[in-house]
Amino acid sequence: MKPHRFFRSRSIHNNIAISFSLLILCTTIVLSYTSYRLSSAAVMGNSVAYTSQLIEQVKLNIENYISNMESIAALVLTSSDLEKYVKGSSSGREGKVKDKQLASQYLRSVIQSRTDISSIVYASSEGITVSDRLDAVLKPLPELIAQEWYQQAMNQTGVAVSSSHVQHLFQDEYRWVVSISRKLSDTFSEMEADRQGVLLVDLNYSVINNLCKQIELGKRGYVFIVDPSGSLVYHPQQQLIYSQLKFEQLETVLGIKSGSVTVNTGNEQKLYTVDTTSFGWKIVGVTYPDDLVANKQQMQGTAALWGAVSLIFAMAISVLLSYALTKPLKNLEINMKKAERGEFDIRVEIESTNEIGKLARTFNLMIMKIKELMSQIVMEQEMKRVSELKALQAQIKPHFLYNTLDSIIWMAETGKMEEVVEMTSSLSKLLRSTIGEGEELIPIARELEHIRHYLTIQNMRYRNKFTYSIEVHEDILECSILKLVLQPLVENAIYHGIKHNPEQGHILIRGKKEQNDITIQVIDNGVGMNPEQMSKLLLQKADYRIGSGVGVANVNHRIQLYFGDHYGLSFTSEMEEGTTVTLRIPALYEEGSP
């Protein structure tokens, strides 16, 4: 079956439902896909924006810490206690020791409430060292000034910010710090070059560690910090990087001041969001596009699920809607089917004024018209039948009258006056009963009376060429019979049976009841008929020509018109033996109603 045929064979209801569903399916798919695309783009954008914000926050916090330490350094460098000790203005060993104590005390007071600062140390190449610590013992000076913080500060102007490292200033103490060191000659400009010293402020590494660790970037994202030389200040997986288990694209990071870039490290894609602090550290937020993809899958699933749910709802609605739309049509169809079966007493309820309502109205009008036409046709048929009956009745008269009158004339000429009187009297009675009161049904008794008159006339005409007898059961005498049905049968018996028979014939009229029917037989012992003649008898047209057999066919026709096709005439005949005509009608006791 071809698809379009397949489609065509559906009901409107289903067609509407399917069309709606397909339409909704397409719309839902397009909408779901578009919303998914839009939201995934939004998620991506949001994530980048969010990461940038977080990174900027980290940057500001770190800058804040570092500038705090810078200002502490600046504050310390203006302190008279430190200046006094550094310049060695006090004389004598005792004075120097006292100055050192004062300086140390001052340093302690500066960072007393600062848990983020690990230590403050001043060291100069000429042997002056002072720290805020009372208990800890500084390492020997050569070791100190060989350390990176010292060298870096000496080799540059302004503040040197180290990467994160283990500070080993003190004996037996190894702390993770970020060092800020500054050459002192900037402020004590009058000092000679060999008396330059460096002030060191160490920031507890845990400050940066905690700051970065708390940043949540998606499920797996993290923050790392790299200094301008490319060494990692903070990285949650620093050891893995050193073990070459993990990789970061540090060159790429160092090339960016701020912004986002997607990089491939190992077998994975990462999104770097970079920001740079004022002193050159790069804060890098790392997010995994794969995390977003997982999110995407969820979104895909959600979009598809909601698409499917709304689809099912929409389908249910479309089925209901199409049902509601086609229900009046179905109703109309049912009524039309009824009309098809011939029920015209129907009326479709008009529920709306829309197209279907109009259709129903038109259908109602049509049915009304058809009903009218039908009753008209029935009436016309009835009229036609009645007029036909009248015509058939009328047909009998002239044919018989001519013959009878001829006989009367003949008898009068030969002077058989008594016979003329008898025949004329019979004819008179016959005509009276024939014309009658115009009713169609008469009791059998009357019809028999009528046939006696007729037989009397005929017997006289044919000069006793035949005898006759009537044997009708008394029970049926009161039953109704169509008027003038026996006469053509008797006539037929005389003309076709007796007339050509050289011997005297006999006509027997016998009537009886057979169950609900009445049979009246006209039996003659005349020449008989062959089957061909018999079949011709009933086939002859009921026309107005006078001819043999016409009357018999008329009788049959009338009975069938009046009582139905079950009834009518039947013949049995044998050549040289005679013919029996059987008339069958329903047994009707009450006159007038068939």
Binding site: S9, S11, A17, S163, V166, N209, Y242, A294, Q298, A308
Partner: protein
């Protein structure tokens, strides 16, 4: 006929949508399953937070847990010697039906039955740092101790003559780690023609005992030129003995592991260097490998996390700093 076709058509359409919905639901459900949080129980030798090695390994475990989205619970004994308690903890761990158990076995033999039980319960078992006899676990993630021993010996050999006499201070007899390390050391010695190796001294994990044994040996064998300490207390004891005997720079010492005491030995140049392990990497790889096994991937039965030789000169490089001075939060 037409109505029958329509019904079939509509039913087919409806069925299609139901199947589609089911498929979507199934996809989401399996997605959920796929992204289900894996649970891992991590059983180190000890949860004593003063022991840096296990703290750092825990950091590695936590880092991997975060990266791979796993739910890791740590249970452990207060000391490394409580084998019975560890077995008991593992029994309890099985009841919790985790996806995987990461175990640092306190005993090479005695934990084998419980390990078999873990495997029988359908739980992935990964051993870390200290393995089990017969290699019961899916993967053993640790330092290649034989290689580490060789590395230590190589460093010593470079600083002595091949006909010099050397000694080994081991920590405990019968420990797999100790045996492997010593084997590496001895193989390296014999391959390089260092044949005067004294009988191994066993410190039994005590630096005092190591100190005493080393003093005794140094007194008895004044021509001793090199000592290898195979773990932290053994190295420390030997180092202090050398220092107290005033034999610095006459007797070369190569050690294992890291502690601030050892750093001082390094700074005082009593010790040439120390071979250190990478517990962070171990912890990280253990979780990663466990998750890979749970997801049905093939993993190698043994994974070497490597070791580094740290000297006074290189201990403040940023790579080694992290290993020598682990930042414990």
């Amino acid at each position: 006929m037409s109505s029958l076709w329509s019904k079939i058509g509509l039913s087919a359409l409806l069925l299609f949508f139901i199947v589609a919905l089911g498929w979507v639901g199934y996809r989401m459900f399996t997605n959920e399953l796929d992204t289900k949080v894996r649970t891992i129980i991590y059983v180190p030798k000890t949860i004593d937070s003063s022991i840096e090695f296990w703290e750092v390994m825990k950091q590695g475990v936590a880092t991997a847990a975060k990266e791979f989205g796993a739910d890791v619970h740590t249970v452990g004994t207060d000391t490394e010697l409580d084998v019975d308690k560890q077995i008991q903890l593992l029994e309890q761990a099985i009841q919790k039906k985790p996806d995987a158990i990461i175990l640092a076995a306190t005993d090479y033999y005695r934990l084998v039955p419980i390990a078999e039980k873990i495997k029988a319960a359908g739980i992935t078992l990964i051993t870390v740092d200290s393995g089990l006899n017969g290699g019961v676990s899916e993967s053993f993630i640790a330092t290649d101790n034989y290689e580490a021993g060789r590395k230590a010996a190589q460093e010593l050999i470079e600083n002595i003559y091949s006909d010099d006499q050397v000694a080994i201070v081991n920590f405990v007899q019968g420990s797999a780690t100790a045996i492997e390390r010593e084997k590496g050391v001895r193989d390296a010695f014999s391959q390089n023609g260092v044949n005067h190796v004294y009988d191994t001294l066993y410190s039994n994990g005590s630096s005092q005992r190591a100190y005493q044994l080393t003093i005794d040996l140094l007194k008895k064998q004044p021509q001793l030129k090199g000592i290898i300490g195979l773990n932290e207390p053994s190295t420390l004891g030997a180092g202090l003995a050398i220092m107290d005997m005033g034999l610095k720079s006459k007797v070369k010492l190569v050690g294992f592991d890291n502690s601030s005491s050892e750093v001082q030995l390094l700074e005082k140049e009593i010790m040439l260097g120390t071979v250190i392990q990478k517990p962070f990497t171990m912890g990280y790889l253990a979780v990663k490998t466990a998750l890979e096994v749970v997801s049905g991937h093939k993993v190698p039965p043994v994974m070497d996390t490597g070791s580094e030789f740290i000297t006074k000169e290189n201990m403040y490089t940023s790579e080694n700093e992290k290993l020598m001075f682990p930042f414990i939060e």
